[in-house]
Amino acid sequence: MRLAVVAGPATTGKTAVLRQVVRRLLARGVAPAFLKIDVQYADEDEALAAEFGIPTRKVYSGELCPDHCSVMVLGDAVRWAAGAGAEVLLVETAGLCLRCSPYVDGALGIVVLEATSGMNLPRKVGPMLSLADVAVVTKIDRVSQAEREVFRARIEDAAPSVLVREVNALHGIGIDPLLGTLLGGPQLVLGEDLEPRGLRLRGAPPVGTCTICVGKRDVGWRSHFGVVRPLESATFYRGE
């Protein structure tokens, strides 16, 4: 059993890439399952189930941050997928927060970025890019070759260890090498109960005492405690 966690800003082409991946996995006789994690609305699970007849499901994170939600449900999801006979579980996450990332050690982490997004994007997405194993760049059909190469250089500058793969997800161009990376990647270790062993969130998550996350809505740093900062200060102040 293999696991790939796919993150990236909205509409970059995560589903389009996964659709191409699923098509090729099936052609090779490898059984995939698909899980979509989103905040409040998603229909990718229904679309992929209808198109390919594979086991799919979704979970809404609601009040939780989607990455937090993913840590909660990923163990159950692997058990579900393994029970459904899948050999590869593909997880598409919303990837809303640029401070942390949903990737786990023992599984492939894929960030999907679009070539049309502007040259500074690789510097802005933080751990969602730097902690990924692979950066898939979509929509290369919409830019010149020169821009494509410069966009790749900007990614490599921001995250030198990440493998870059350029694709046209609409026509499935460039997807095959990605499949090699996925199927050559790590295998999960499953217990008797199909529960994965030793899956750990990659990287250091942000400080977890956010007064806003726990529901305090008053604006202004004086109303908060933990990590606060006024406008006229470049550094974060802890311990208020």
């Binding site: 502007g118 040259m119 919409r142 020169a146 190469e149």
Partner: protein, 260 residues
């Protein structure tokens, strides 16, 4: 260094084998790709750029020096010996021209050569377009003609690849015959998708596309060369008239007499 590219024919849009079953393109040659809209010209150029291996919609295969290319050429754009200039004439990149070229030169060439390469690229581009490009202007602010000139210069000077593919250069405001003459100075294989008779006649051969298939390869002959010379003079005369009109001048009426 690459010496030749080969296209092994696949199938037409209706599934028949292509009449031209094999096409060899050597470095130093210029190939014009001609045919009506929808005949498959862009698709052919894409097959070349992707080093098609029989899995694209046409079933064509591309060989480099007679053998299938190493996967590195496909997977790593800056290792590709092919530079493609597509029909897009607008940039989405939000960088200043100078920084864009510097980044590209750094990965395609070397960090130490980058500064010189950028200057050379801008000079080349400015020979192709009547509206000079400033290194400080943003890529997104370039006109269609400037963008196209910059892309051609980038492919020729920065990428300096042995093969350059140009898809319908004529749609933007650059001097095509001059571009071809400048490009000929570099030892490369050029593939032009073109509707321009002068450019097509200046090529070493014309590949004719129809219904998604390569239907004929016409090597340039004596008649083509004779016509190319006349077409060049007509282009030149017409360009003079165009310039005079743009400059707001009155015309004598006899400017194109030689061709009447």
């Amino acid at each position: 260094m690459l010496d030749s590219l080969t296209i092994l024919g696949g199938r037409s849009r209706t599934g028949e084998p292509e009449p031209v079953g094999r096409l060899d393109l050597r470095v130093g040659e210029v190939l014009a790709v001609v045919g009506p809209t929808g005949s498959g010209k862009t698709t052919l150029v894409n097959d070349l750029e992707l080093f098609a291996d029989g899995t694209t919609s046409t079933g064509r295969k591309v060989l480099v020096d007679g053998v299938p290319p190493p996967s590195r050429m496909r997977d790593e754009p800056s290792a590709s010996p092919i530079a493609l200039i597509t029909q897009h004439t607008s940039f989405l990149s939000d960088l200043p021209v100078g920084e864009f070229l510097l980044t590209h030169a750094r990965i395609r060439r070397s960090p130490t050569a980058a500064g010189r390469v950028v200057e050379e690229t801008l000079a080349f581009a400015n020979e192709l377009t009547g509206e000079p490009i400033d290194a400080r202007s943003r890529m997104t602010d370039l006109s269609g003609g400037q963008a196209r000139a910059l892309l051609i210069a980038d492919a020729t000077v920065v990428c300096d690849t042995p093969v350059v593919l140009l898809d319908e250069v004529e749609n933007a405001g650059i001097d095509r015959a001059r571009a071809l003459a400048l490009l000929r100075r570099h030892r490369k294989a050029f593939v032009f998708v073109t509707h321009d008779p002068h450019v097509a006649l200046l090529a070493d051969a014309r590949l004719v596309m129809k219904g998604g298939a390569m239907t004929a390869l016409l090597r340039a002959d004596e008649a083509d060369r004779r016509l190319a010379a006349v077409a060049g003079r007509m282009d030149f005369a017409l360009a003079r008239v165009r310039e005079a009109i743009r400059a707001g001048e009155r015309l004598a009426g006899s400017e194109l007499e030689a061709f009447a």
